[in-house]
């Protein structure tokens, strides 16, 4: 089992009132699954992804990632854990405008122990695989949205994560670009065995996944 969430609650307190963002979430994810999180805006998709990605805290419940109890880990260990096993893909790509395609993809490796020749090899491999060798010296603003997201995915994959968390990865793309990106996810999932959890609005995108979880007001509902 890759990860297990049981009875996860998350809330914010405003003016003495608790507003629940997540309410009793129970999910088990096996390695190799491709899960889509669906639900309207504000249903808690992003929050759940952030909790799974350890970028955000939860207030109650138990979360095991590869049998490690996440709620008991110190921040430093949490970072070590997600740095090693999780890659993030964002709706608005979050590429660094001041770095080239090559440098953007290389960046995660800088925070892990790789020699510069290993880094070169890994980045070259990735550029090759995504067919963007010719664009390696361009800056993100010189690329189309689809290409930028490609770079974003390449960056997420470079450190060989077990899990990719994608928050509306195609939200800023047109339908053709969307389809390409989803095909790529599917391929990664099937051929490389990467576990993928994506948050999405679109039924079409959700259908690429092996399982869909519906959220409403922070609760899991039957689809």
């Amino acid at each position: 089992m890759l990860l297990e969430l049981s009875e996860i609650f998350k809330w914010v307190t405003t003016g003495g009132n608790r507003t629940y963002l997540l309410k009793g979430i129970n999910i088990e994810v096996q390695e190799g699954e491709f899960i889509s999180l669906m639900g309207p805006s504000g249903s808690g998709k992003s929050t759940l992804l952030n909790v799974i990605g350890m970028l955000d805290h939860f207030d109650e419940g138990v979360y095991h990632f590869l049998d490690e109890p996440v709620q008991n880990l110190k921040e430093k260990h949490r970072i070590e854990l997600y740095k090693k096993y999780i890659g993030f893909v964002f709706q608005s790509y979050h590429l660094m405008d001041d770095l080239t395609v090559y440098e953007n993809i290389e960046m995660p490796l800088l925070y892990q122990k790789y020699s510069s020749s290993e880094r070169k090899a890994l980045v070259a491999d990735m550029l090759d695989r995504f067919n963007i060798v010719g664009k390696k010296n361009l800056f993100p603003t010189q690329l189309s949205g689809g290409q930028q997201q490609l770079v974003g995915i390449a960056r997420a994959l470079i450190s060989k994560p077990k899990l990719i968390l994608a928050d509306e990865p195609t939200g800023n793309l047109n339908s053709k670009q969307s389809e390409e990106i989803m095909q790529l996810f599917k391929k990664l999932n099937e051929e490389d065995g990467v576990t993928i959890i994506q948050a999405t609005h679109s039924e079409a995108n959700a259908s690429y996944g092996s399982r869909t979880i519906h959220l409403l007001d922070g609760r899991m509902v039957k689809g």
Binding site: G53, L55, K83, F90, H94, D98, L99, E103, Y111
Partner: protein, 799 residues
């Protein structure tokens, strides 16, 4: 990683050029100022401290009762050194020293055959060379100066006098200087005295020769002439030695002369020789500072300048945070620890400061000559290991301090929040930034107020009516043949058409008048110790200096004998309480003197001193010749006087000084402070304004949306400008409210060194405050007007 960080750094610079230049200018001028001040301080601290035995060399100081005060002087009795050495076991070596300036004319004339030079002679005892480590390059250190007719020459003078030979031991030289004149045999050569010594001399004589020539004066325990230096035994307790010597002179005096006049005899104490230069001011017997104050002052200014530059860096870095949120967020998401981000930001500030150091070095190299000119030093940028280490140290510490706040601040953000573009700005932060701006401007304002008022005071001092006219008056020392008979010299130069008047004078007008308590008059309180300054003057003296005579007349040969007459200034008459003083008789040193005139008070000392009671007595052939020259004919007249001088002193160069220059040199220290602080204050202020300019730019940028919304809702450009500027102006007003009172305290403290000062007017402070406000307005206004006049749609479309 480093490569990446460098790349990000440089691409950031490209994007935010203005910020980069503000930081570069601020940090590099800050560093350049600090380097200059460090070089200067370092040079000052090394003065006199280069002797091998430095830690054990002491000077004997004397606290002399003077009226109700204590006067601390360096002169001591002529037999003190040898006497102390035999009586106090802690004293290993001791030497009395007569320095060149003990003589009325500082320079004597040294000659060999037909070569004449003016030279400074210093008279020392055998132990002198064991106390101080002057290098003897010819002759035997242990045997030189054993015979009282021998001398040591400096290397430079040995070459000047004996250009053809290096074998000069045993040669004879002639020396002319008051009581020390005579023939001497050279028995050694010493290496020229370095610039970082306050003792400057060209010839070393045996003290015995001057002791014998002035035996009746020097051998008395009631008189003080030479200075005394001692070398203490290793491990001596200075407190114990001080206790032993405190009443040493008084006991010696009492055992010979009893208790009569014992209350005029001073007590002794030791001061470390190398401390004398920095701690040179005593008030009422207590050490109250001296040059060390300027060291402190400028060190503080240096720190201020760096602080101001660091504040700019911190403020701009944190204000700029919005532009780097994504970078920080992304880095955290892909696994960067906070530590690695802190490292990155510190690294950036260190690169920034390294850049600034390079610029600072160039600046220092460029302005060092001018700096030397202002400070009267000859500092060179010699990169000794010590200097390099200290400068690097300062740079690193600055980089670290400037970088630490932004590093801690920026690395703290939670990634998911900032990736959503939200920046949690706490009230604390905003206040920190505002507080820093207030500090900057308060410091700038304090400096500006001080500089402004210092300048007013210096102007006042330079233009004050001194009670005499110093314009176009030169002073010539009666040296060489003039010493014996300057009357004929004076009568000859009076024939030169450009010479309006000429006279002789025993002193100068900048404070070398001696003092005496030996004046008695009818009705004087027998217990009062009232000191009178004593000026020895010749005919025509009052006329030449245009001093106003209030009652009676001045010295003249028309009324017979002048030697038993005396003239007082107003202050003297007032303190004596004499009504209708003309014709009355007073006793000076036991002899009757008839008062023939009273003159208006004039400043015979610097304006640091109140005009004291002063008596003037007639003498002929005094040590300085004063000449009033017709204005417009200076060059012609001076060359004619020079020609006459050469007739009297063949072979010597004609030297003279304008007494106005002499007067101006009284305030050299103040003028230096004024000039330097003017520059440093300007730098501080400009850098502060640059910082405000940058900060305003970012604030305005952050508020683009707000401005856009306000404009679409119909608010006018003017109102928006007011709104935006108001925030900054509040800070500047607060700074003014803090800075002005502090500035006032500092400046009143400084002015208290002068007895005669400008009146502090409220307008001085208003002008300074207004200047700061106006320039700050420009810095902020530039940004706000720009932002307020933009099309609001541009701002809103981005959302």
């Amino acid at each position: 990683m480093i490569k990446h960080n460098l790349l990000l750094f440089f691409r950031n610079i490209k994007k935010y050029k203005v910020t980069f230049f503000i930081n570069l200018i601020g940090l590099s001028t800050g560093l350049a100022s600090v380097i200059l001040i460090y070089l200067w301080v370092n040079d000052e601290l090394k003065i006199n401290a280069f002797h091998e035995n430095d830690s054990h060399i002491y000077q004997v100081m004397q606290n002399l009762p003077e009226g109700d005060d204590i006067d601390t002087i360096i002169e001591t009795p002529g037999l003190l050194a040898r006497s102390l050495k035999s009586d106090i076991p802690e004293i290993k070596y001791a030497s009395n020293v007569i320095a060149p300036n003990w003589f009325e004319n500082e320079k004597g004339i040294i000659s060999h055959e037909d070569t004449y030079f003016k030279a400074r002679g210093q008279f020392v005892e055998k132990d002198y060379l064991k106390i101080f480590s002057w290098e003897i390059i010819q002759g035997d250190k242990n045997t030189v100066l054993t015979d009282k007719n021998t001398v040591l020459l400096s290397e430079a003078f040995a070459k000047k006098l004996f250009p053809d030979t290096t074998d000069i031991i045993g040669k004879t030289i002639d020396w002319v200087q008051e009581s020390s004149s005579g023939k001497y045999v050279v028995n050694g050569v010493f290496k020229d005295v370095s610039n970082n010594s306050t003792a400057q001399f060209d010839v070393l004589f045996n003290y015995e020769s001057i002791l014998e020539a002035n035996a009746s004066n020097f051998k008395k325990w009631s008189n003080s002439n030479p200075e005394t230096f001692v070398l203490l035994q290793e491990g001596s307790n200075i407190k114990q030695v001080n206790a032993k010597i405190k009443n040493y002179r008084r006991e010696k005096y009492q055992s010979l002369r009893g208790t009569k006049y014992l209350h005029y005899i001073g007590t002794l104490f030791l001061q470390k020789y190398s401390d004398r230069y920095l701690y040179n001011v005593y008030e009422n017997g207590v050490q109250t500072g001296g040059r060390i104050e300027y060291i402190f002052l400028f060190s503080i200014i240096a720190i201020f300048l760096l602080v101001i530059a660091c504040i700019n860096f911190m403020n701009l870095s944190t204000a700029k945070a919005t532009t780097r949120l994504k970078e920080i967020g992304v880095k955290k998401v892909i696994g960067a620890h906070r530590k690695s981000l802190i490292k990155q930001f510190l690294f950036e500030s260190l690169i920034m400061i390294s850049f600034s150091l390079c610029v600072a070095f160039l600046t220092v190299i460029l302005i060092l000559p001018e700096f030397n000119h202002i400070t009267g030093k000859s500092i060179s940028l010699s990169l000794s290991l010590e200097v390099v280490l200290i400068i690097l140290g300062i740079t690193l510490v600055t980089g670290f301090i400037a970088g630490s706040y932004p590093a801690l601040y920026l690395s703290r953000f939670r990634p998911i929040r900032i990736l959503k573009g939200k920046l949690d700005t706490s009230i604390g932060e905003t206040w920190a930034r505002k507080g820093l701006v207030i500090i900057q401007f308060s410091i700038s304002l304090i400096l500006i107020v001080s500089v402004f008022i210092i300048h007013q005071q210096i102007n006042f001092v330079q233009n004050k009516n001194l009670g005499y006219n110093k314009d176009n008056v030169i002073a010539i020392s009666s040296e060489g043949n003039l010493y014996e008979s300057n009357a004929s010299f004076i009568s000859e130069i009076k024939n030169i058409p450009g010479v309006l008047k000429a006279t002789s004078f025993g002193h100068d007008l900048v404070g070398d008048a001696g003092g005496t308590g030996g004046v008695n008059w009818e009705g004087k309180d027998p217990n009062a110790n009232i000191q009178f300054s004593n000026l020895e003057i010749d005919f025509d003296w009052f006329e030449l200096l245009e001093i106003e005579v209030l009652q009676g007349r001045v010295f003249s040969d028309e009324y017979g004998n002048n030697e038993d007459k005396i003239i007082f200034n107003e202050a003297a008459i007032a303190i004596m309480g004499l009504k209708e003083p003309i014709g009355k008789t007073v006793k000076v040193w036991g002899k009757d003197r008839q008062i023939i005139g009273v003159v208006k008070d004039f400043h015979f000392e610097s304006l640091h001193e109140r005009v004291k009671p002063c008596m003037m007595q007639y003498y002929a052939d005094l040590s300085n010749v004063l000449v009033k020259i017709k204005s417009g004919t200076e060059n012609k007249t001076l060359s004619k006087i020079g020609a006459v001088y050469k007739e009297f002193n063949p072979g010597l160069t004609f030297e003279y000084k304008f007494i106005d220059d002499d007067y101006q040199s009284l305030y050299t220290a103040e003028k230096r402070v004024a000039t330097l602080s003017k520059y440093f204050a300007s730098i501080a202020f400009i850098v502060s304004c640059l910082g405000l300019f940058g900060l305003a730019a970012f604030t305005v940028e952050k508020k683009r949306k707000e401005i856009g919304i306000r404009k679409t809702l119909g608010q006018g450009t003017q109102q928006i400008v007011m709104l935006l500027s108001g925030e900054f102006m509040k800070l500047v007003f607060t700074a003014i409210a803090i800075g002005l009172p502090i500035g006032y305290l500092i400046i009143t403290n400084w002015l208290s060194r002068f007895e005669y000062t400008i009146d502090l007017q409220i307008s001085y402070f208003l002008i300074a405050g207004f200047t700061v406000l106006a320039l700050a307005c420009i810095a902020v206004g530039f940004q706000t007007v720009n932002a307020a006049s933009r099309n609001p749609i541009d701002a809103l479309r981005e959302e």
